[in-house]
Amino acid sequence: MPRLPPSLFWRARREISPMATYLLKACRDLESTANELRWIREHVRATPSPVFPGLRTWNLCERRGKGVPLQYVLGTQPFGNLDIKCRPGVLIPRPETEAYTLHLASLLSQEQQSSPAPLSILDLCTGTGCIPLLLLSSLLTPPAAPPKITIHALDISPLAISLATHNHAHNTALNLLPPPTPQTPHTLTFTRANIFHPLPAPPHHQQPGGTIDLLTANPPYISPAAFATDTSRAVRNHEPRLALVPDTSTSTLTDYAAAYNCLPQDIFYARLLECAAELRPRRVFLEVGDMAQAVRVVGMVLRDGGAGLGGYYATVEIWRDEPEVERVEMRRIAGREVGVRGEGKGRGVYLFQGDV
């Protein structure tokens, strides 16, 4: 990281505020420094505390200046229309995740408008619970509220499960999520589980003919080498490694890598696709790190040709950062034409039983 010139600190002090010199160390440019200072001040104004506001602002700026992500400093991150609480030890929701979650929700809503049916969703590696919460909130908006929604979310970390449960209650209390009523019955459960063990079977999996409509996952997908070089400092030093890098020190994960002959950063996809093959959800969306990884995951989906998942899912797509942009280019992967949708960098792999 290049050194910031001292003149920039002087300018921050003169043009923004003395507090900005702390923030500048983490923000590295004047515009985002001014914005973050404003958000910190707004947060201080909005949350009552016996501590003197100026002192609180100064404290928060100092913590942020030490490189702690702003979301941990303020304790929240807006996600869609929701307010997601963030705590150290749980991954902070990213704007890219927000973009594809909203797009998935709009696809499901469109389907609901033509043929309303109960929905069942499974989210793995849920973290703060942002994906299931935003899906629930978007699907419950009036024009196409499905008759019944059942969402099940799993994570290995007890911290994540308690935070996700808290987020559900917090957003319901803020009236951003409607509570279940007889007209809109919905359940959302967070369970602690290791997805490398057999998945705990929630009731809706066991029902005869009970299918899952959507399987989503934002698994750890950074390789140990990329973690050391490509991640930003705030991520590397303050966000949980568990949520970012597949832990290759355990034999369960290395066994998968050996059995599927995949790179260490792709281990989770091997297991997730195994889950998909077992549960046969109608749609699957897996977040990935970049286009190369997306291509590798599509390769894993299409590995067995018509016999495996490739034959089951008629639509295999790669989504970019902004999948809502109507732009699809075709790309040939493992002998099949795969659509690359949207604009930005490769962000996820989308599988759908039907045609687009």
Binding site: N35, E36, L37, L70, P95, E98, V235, D290, D321
Partner: protein
């Protein structure tokens, strides 16, 4: 006779105190008078519309139709105003008949009534012209007040903040619902103005009540301030300016009418998504889990007109995007409307065109030394500047005077339009005859 065409009011008053009172005719008042005699073109139009109203009401008695009922409702105000006017005219001619009568007592009575009837006639002709003025198409909408300091130092920025708080307080006093859409300040090392203002860069205040556009329409333009800034050491008065723009806005709460209008290419609010370039702050490198950017700024550019909107107030990019789109729609709608008005103006006589106030002209002056606020259009002077800046009743008085001025302006334009239309018809006829 006096050389001066007028005498200022305080001089006239002091002259009056020493017994000289003949200057009353020279006092200049904030007059908003219009001609009492309506032009023939306007009367003709009123008669036509009244005839239409009668037809419509007759048709409505037999079968009801929502569209026709709406039109009849619009026209009813013209019909009643015309009826009133004709009544006043009839009584006037009757009185004039009585004036020529032989009975002295009767003449006296008629003389007494004449004045009242004249006033009534003036009132009703004014009412009729108000009724004839077409309602502004955005009049029923909520509005966005955009406040931006003019070129110059921090003094203008401080005053922009004062204006922002003035409108906010005014809305609070009047019970209008408001929302701060954008409030960008420069954090100048804790330096504040004389009343704790912060240097404002740009602010957008949304007044969410329907009909707010009509109420605030007159506020658009340059607001000039004259005062001694806190930074000024030798006590000189500085003049700076702040631009206020008033844009129509759509009510947010799921108004299906409004949303259908967004998709209607005929509407002023329609934007072809293909004409918008949307720029976001993209994280360098891989993105996703690799980085944790807090930048949520959105910039929209409307390519054909080059209008840009940038929004970075909220931490949520989604919310910034929504607000940016709304602001873009409002700005484009206003631009389209202004372009149409400009075209209409070119068709009118050039004399009137010159008296038009565009948003580049200064419309109001706030003078701190003289504790005075002057509106240059309605020529209204009010004192008690602190009450104006607190958004009190004094500001309400200024805004009302502007409302009246705007209505009279609209009437003048209407008359000019009618006359121009008549003239062109006559010309065509003349040509046809040859």
């Amino acid at each position: 006779m006096l050389a001066a065409p007028w005498v200022c009011r305080s001089c006239a008053r002091s002259l009056g105190r020493v017994g000289i009172s003949q200057f009353s005719q020279f006092i200049r008042r904030a007059s908003t008078g219009t001609a009492t005699e309506l032009p023939a073109a306007l009367l003709e139009r009123a008669r036509k519309l009244t005839a239409e109203h009668e037809q419509l009401s007759a048709a409505l008695e037999t079968d009801f139709d929502v569209k026709r009922a709406k039109r009849a409702g619009e026209l009813s105000r013209i019909a009643t105003a015309l009826k009133q006017l004709e009544k006043a005219k009839a009584s006037l001619s009757e009185l004039q008949g009585l004036l020529t009568s032989d009975d002295a007592e009767l003449r006296e009575l008629a003389q007494d009534d004449l004045e009242a009837t004249n006033v009534e006639l003036a009132d009703s002709s004014h009412n009729l012209s108000v009724a004839l003025t077409p309602k502004h198409p955005f009049a029923d909408m909520p509005c966005l007040l955009e406040i931006r300091p003019g070129p110059g130092g921090t003094e203008g920025r401080f005053f922009a903040d004062s204006l922002f708080h003035m409108y906010q307080a005014y809305c609070a006093n009047k019970g209008y619902r408001t929302r701060v859409v954008k409030y960008d300040t420069m954090d100048n090392d804790g330096q504040t103005g004389s009343e704790g203002e912060v240097p404002l860069q740009e602010a957008v205040l949304e007044v969410e009540d329907p009909g707010a556009y009509a109420k605030f329409r007159g506020e658009a333009g340059m607001h000039r301030v004259q005062r001694v800034p806190v930074t000024e050491k030798s006590g000189r008065t500085h003049t700076s300016a702040v631009a206020v723009w008033v844009l129509p806005s759509f009510p947010e709460s799921g108004n299906t009418d409004a949303e259908s209008e967004w998709d209607n290419p005929e509407s002023d609010f329609y934007i072809n998504p293909a004409e918008i370039r949307c720029e976001t702050m993209r994280a360098r490198g891989a993105g996703g889990q690799h980085v944790n950017k807090t930048e949520s700024a959105i910039r929209l550019t409307h390519i054909p007109t080059g209008t840009t909107v940038s929004m970075q107030d909220s931490r949520s990019q989604q919310r910034n995007r929504d607000y940016a789109w709304r602001l873009m729609r409002s700005r484009l709608a206003q631009q389209r409307r202004e372009a149409r008005e400009e075209k209409a103006r070119q068709l009118r006589s050039s004399v009137l065109a010159n008296s038009q106030i565009t948003r580049g002209d200064k419309i109001r002056t706030y003078n701190y030394q003289q504790d005075r606020c002057t509106d240059h259009r309605s020529a209204l002077d009010v004192h008690n500047l602190p009450d104006v800046l607190r958004g009190g009743d004094t500001l309400g008085r200024v805004m009302e005077s502007v409302q009246t001025w705007l209505v009279n302006k609209d009437i003048e334009l209407l008359i000019a339009d009618e006359e121009a239309a008549d003239a062109s018809v006559a010309k065509k006829k003349g040509k046809g005859g040859n």
